[in-house]
Amino acid sequence: MTSDPQRLGTFEQLLLLALVRLGDDTYGVPIRADIEARTGRVVSPGAIYTALDRLERRGLVRSTLGEPSTTRGGKRKRLYRLTASGAAAIADAHGQIAEMARGLKPKLGTP
């Protein structure tokens, strides 16, 4: 396990970006929908949860338990929000990528 709090995997970056977009106290279902809608990646709630759990251990996100609901078979949501260091980490990682990608759009072939 990496101990460097600054290093983020691609999937972790996707998750943190989703948290930035969706705002505080969001949970697995909207996160999954957001990632799938934007990237086309099919991710399972299990993968989202285990990755967020890892990020929580590293102090990048914080979670609380929400209210149970009938559509969830009476189970509670686990709600996530970014911590200050999480926000810094994703800003940093995104900045690095953006810096590296600057001016490369024609070469990368992305619109």
């Binding site: 697995g28 559509t71 078979g73």
Partner: protein, 881 residues
């Protein structure tokens, strides 16, 4: 949802909740939802394992259990990596194991479903059959007169109760269509004896057997659901069974099965009568008797007492009971008492051999890999891995292979069993209805788990032990060449000999069974079973009371069927060959001797219409068949078969001689013999013909007869027209068991056909595995000796010399395996004795053919790698060092 229990508790609520919410929101296909659900479980589980392996908080000392778990997970991850790194090896090992484990799972499932389930009776080990024995005829069977059963119940002190039952193929009318049901007439104490209660209403009680009791019936759960829509209101109403109103008393539980060794019962009705009435000896019906032993008595003491009772009955009633005895057999053990060969044990042993071969092949692969991995293991050892740790690592890898093989094997077994279930013979479905549940059940899963563990130890144990023991710094020093010592080679030689020998045993068994089946098909049953349609008609006595009416029906039906275009000849008989029924009688011949009462000879008894012999193609050897001359008003006549003619009249011509049916004290009329017909095999193809006595239907009476209609084309195509023709005689009369004669004969060969196809599949698999094994061993030997060959070539040996060298060594192993296999097969094939027919267990043509085929294919498997040795370039080989 049960599924969520698969998630680790830490993440269960959040992940399961998300998944349920995703499902509720919709917009996802079922398939896709399952995919994310299962990957969620996998992700959480793997994450949990990682935590246990790695993220142990530094604040506390790891406990022993944690450390073990940690190394296990490390071994697991390492093993998975190794599997991925050698995809060819992994695929070969997993496929081989899948084959071996799959065939074991499937066979176990079949054997399990065909075996007798624990009986759902109270204290079932005390429930027994009373078999009737006949000392004079060396017979033992599930039949005994009701009178004897009642007497045994009256006189025995070691038995709590004695009951008896009789098959009753009944017409159930009153619904949309009349239906034929498999019912039983039972003595009223039967349910008390079994100790079972009805699920709805009540079962039969003793009072239902009193002469003044109302006609009543108890239904099986299946019949209740099928016919009455599981309506509880049917209790207390009346249904029409064989034209008589019967009160429905109750419905038995779904798992209730009675009797266990016959057609599954769908309804039960009480035999009525006073105790003395039931014990009346004259005309007492033949029944199957069952008993419950009193608590505290053993089968041995009960058997001793029943012997005394039977002797007493023989002394009291010498006319009916001479030579008759009885034998108590625990109900569940009846199969063992009658089965010719322990088929299920043979099948399971055969698949165990297939598994052994698969394990041997995988062990072979592992040994080859162990050589390649010697360096890797030595490095790990040098870095501090203990011997135990290395063994554990290798065993974990074996367990992974076994797990993957099991998954594949279970999948294959699942598909195979499903295909098998779709093509089951009808006879098996009628007699063993549970075969429809054939599949992978919990017990099969447990068995597969055990097989997988065992095989992991088998194929992984020796290589692991060897690898750990052979671990020295040697591999590190040499140029990274695995240097297989002679122990390695000896082990592989032993594996090869073992594989050849084992597969030979299975091949011989399969060969003997194939020969048996061939011999059975060559047997002439005494008639031509092709292009004959058969069906059964049972005239209810409420509509056909007197024999004349029955005769009129059968004569008219014969004429109607004969007139159908496409029917060449048609006739009725009371018992068709291979119909699984029989009827017999005693007889007395007019040869001047008068046998002692009770010592009269016996013969099968047939009632036929005129054209029966022509319809089945039974040849008339002497005299004539029945015709219009034989009426109920004319002299009584009979036709006998060759066996009866020889037995009753020796070599003299029986035409014009006379026979009388029944005992020597009987006053039945004499029958003049007008013809002799050929012998017919009746119950099994392999059983020699019994004496048979035929009488014309015009001079006898029977309410049930079976039709044999010889058709010009496919009998199945004529079935509709033939049934319509019978309906013109009586539109209310149902016919049943409509099937071609050929199927009846084939069904009689079902045990042999089943054993043969099963063993053939096993043997082919074994042969395949052994061939691969031989190829593997010889390839390995060649690859290990590359350097030696290079030196030899450099020193002037010719490629042909090398080829000869390799072939000599491998063929010696092949020959040794074959020799051992032949010896083993001679011993093992004796077990098959009971189901072999027309060939002995030591049939030398089979042995020669099988050994020859194995040697031939084995030689080819040796030749291919041997040829590689001759293509070596010495310069390349030697420079490689």
């Amino acid at each position: 949802m049960k599924l969520w229990r698969l998630l680790p508790p830490a993440c269960r609520e959040a992940v399961a909740g998300d998944l349920e919410e995703i499902w509720h929101r919709g917009g996802i296909t079922r398939w896709r939802w399952w995919r994310i659900a299962l990957t969620s479980i996998a992700a959480c589980r793997i994450d949990q394992l990682r935590h246990q392996a790695g993220d142990v908080p530094a604040s506390r000392e790891p406990r022993q259990g944690d450390r073990l778990m940690q190394t296990f997970v490390q071994d697991l991850m390492y093993g998975l990596r190794m599997m991925r790194r050698a995809p060819g090896f992994t695929a070969a090992a997993v496929l081989t194991l899948g084959l071996g484990i799959g065939i074991n799972a499937a066979t176990f499932s079949i054997v399990d479903i065909l075996s007798i389930k624990p009986l759902n009776y109270r204290d079932p080990s005390r429930v027994a059959f009373i078999l009737g024995t006949n000392a004079a005829r060396h017979q033992r069977g599930m039949n005994m007169t009701l009178a004897d059963a009642v007497e045994i119940g009256r006189q025995m002190t070691t038995l709590e109760r004695v009951a008896a039952y009789q098959y009753w193929s009944a017409n159930l009318t009153g619904g949309a269509t009349p239906e034929r049901i498999q019912a039983y007439r039972v003595t009223a104490n039967t349910f008390a004896l079994l100790g079972v209660e009805a699920a709805v209403g009540r079962a039969l009680v003793e009072a239902d057997g009193l002469p003044e009791a109302a006609d009543a019936i108890v239904l099986s759960d299946g019949l209740w659901r099928r016919r009455f829509g599981a309506d509880p209101a049917v209790i207390g109403t009346t249904v029409m069974v064989d034209g008589a109103a019967h009160v429905v008393l109750g419905v038995m539980p779904p798992r209730f099965e009675f009797p266990v060794f016959n057609f599954k019962g769908e309804a039960w009705s009480a035999i009525k009568g006073t105790r003395d009435g039931l014990a009346r000896r004259a005309g007492s019906p033949s029944m199957v008797a069952i008993a419950r032993l009193k608590d505290g008595t053993t089968y041995r003491t009960a058997q001793a007492e029943i012997g005394t009772v039977m002797q007493r009955l023989e002394a009291d009633y010498p006319d009916t009971n001479r030579g008759l005895g009885a034998e108590l057999v625990e109900m569940r053990r009846l199969g063992e008492a009658f089965q010719p060969a322990p088929l299920s044990a043979i099948a399971l042993s055969a698949v165990a051999v297939v598994l052994l071969l698969a394990c041997a092949n995988v062990a072979n692969l592992l040994l080859a890999r162990a050589v390649a991995r010697e360096r890797e293991l030595a490095v790990r050892a040098a870095l501090g891995a203990g011997q135990a740790r290395l063994v554990r690592q290798l065993l974990t890898e074996s367990a992974l292979l076994a797990a993957a093989g099991s998954a594949l094997g279970l999948g294959a077994a699942f598909v195979g069993l499903r295909l098998l279930r779709a093509s089951l013979p009808e006879l098996l479905i009628v007699t063993q209805p549970n075969v429809l549940d054939l599949g992978i059940d919990r017990l099969t899963l447990l068995f597969t788990l055990a097989v997988a563990c065992l095989s992991a130890l088998l194929f992984g144990g020796v290589p692991a032990w060897r690898a750990a023991r052979a671990r020295t710094t040697e591999p590190l020093k040499s140029g990274g060449h695995g240097s297989a010592g002679s122990p390695h080679r000896r082990l592989r030689a032993a594996l090869m000999i073992g594989e050849v020998a084992l597969s030979l045993v299975l091949l011989v068994a399969a060969g003997l069974l194939v020969r048996t089946f061939g011999q059975l098909q060559k047997v002439d049953p005494g008639f031509n079973p092709d292009r004959v349609l058969t069906l059964t008609v049972s005239l209810p006595d409420y509509r056909y009371q007197d024999p004349a009416a029955q005769r009129r029906f059968f004569t008219a039906a014969t004429d109607a069927v004969s007139a159908v275009p496409g029917v060449a000849a048609a006739g009725f008989v009371n018992v068709l060959p291979f119909s699984t029924y029989n009827r017999g009688t005693r007889y007395v011949a007019d040869d001047g001797t008068s046998p002692e009462p009770g010592r009269e000879p016996a013969t099968d008894y047939r009632i036929v219409t005129d054209r029966y012999f022509a319809a089945l193609g039974i040849p008339i050897l002497e005299g004539r068949s029945f015709d219009s001359r034989d009426r109920d008003t004319t002299d009584r006549v009979a036709v006998i078969n060759k066996t009866l003619a020889r037995r009753a009249f020796a070599d003299a011509s029986p035409i014009g001689r006379r026979l009388r049916i029944g005992r020597s004290t009987s006053r039945s009329p004499w029958l003049s013999i007008v013809g002799v017909v050929g012998d017919v095999r009746h119950s099994e193809v392999a059983v020699l013909p019994e004496p048979e006595l035929y009488v014309p239907v015009s001079q006898a009476s029977t309410e049930m007869m079976m039709l044999a209609a010889r058709t010009i084309g496919d009998p199945d195509e004529a079935a509709g027209a033939i049934q319509q023709a019978i309906a013109t005689v009586d539109p209310l009369q149902p016919v049943y068991h409509v099937k071609p004669m050929r199927r009846l004969v084939d069904d009689a060969m079902l045990p042999q056909a089943g054993a043969m196809s099963m063993m053939a599949i096993f043997a082919v698999l074994a042969f395949l595995l052994a061939t691969i094994g031989i190829y593997g061993v010889v390839s390995y030997i060649v690859s290990q000796q590359t350097r030696e060959f290079g030196v030899r070539l450099a020193l002037g040996a010719s490629p042909a010399d090398l080829m000869a060298l390799v072939l000599r060594r491998s063929l010696m192993l092949l020959g040794a395996g074959t020799a051992i296999g032949v010896l083993a097969a001679v011993g093992v094939s004796r077990l098959l004795g009971g189901i072999l027919y027309g060939v002995t267990a030591t049939d030398w043509p089979t042995y020669t053919a099988v050994a020859g085929a194995l040697l031939l294919v084995g030689t080819v498997a040796c030749y291919i790698p041997a040829r590689r040795a001759t293509r070596l370039d010495p310069a390349v080989v030697l420079r490689a060092d």
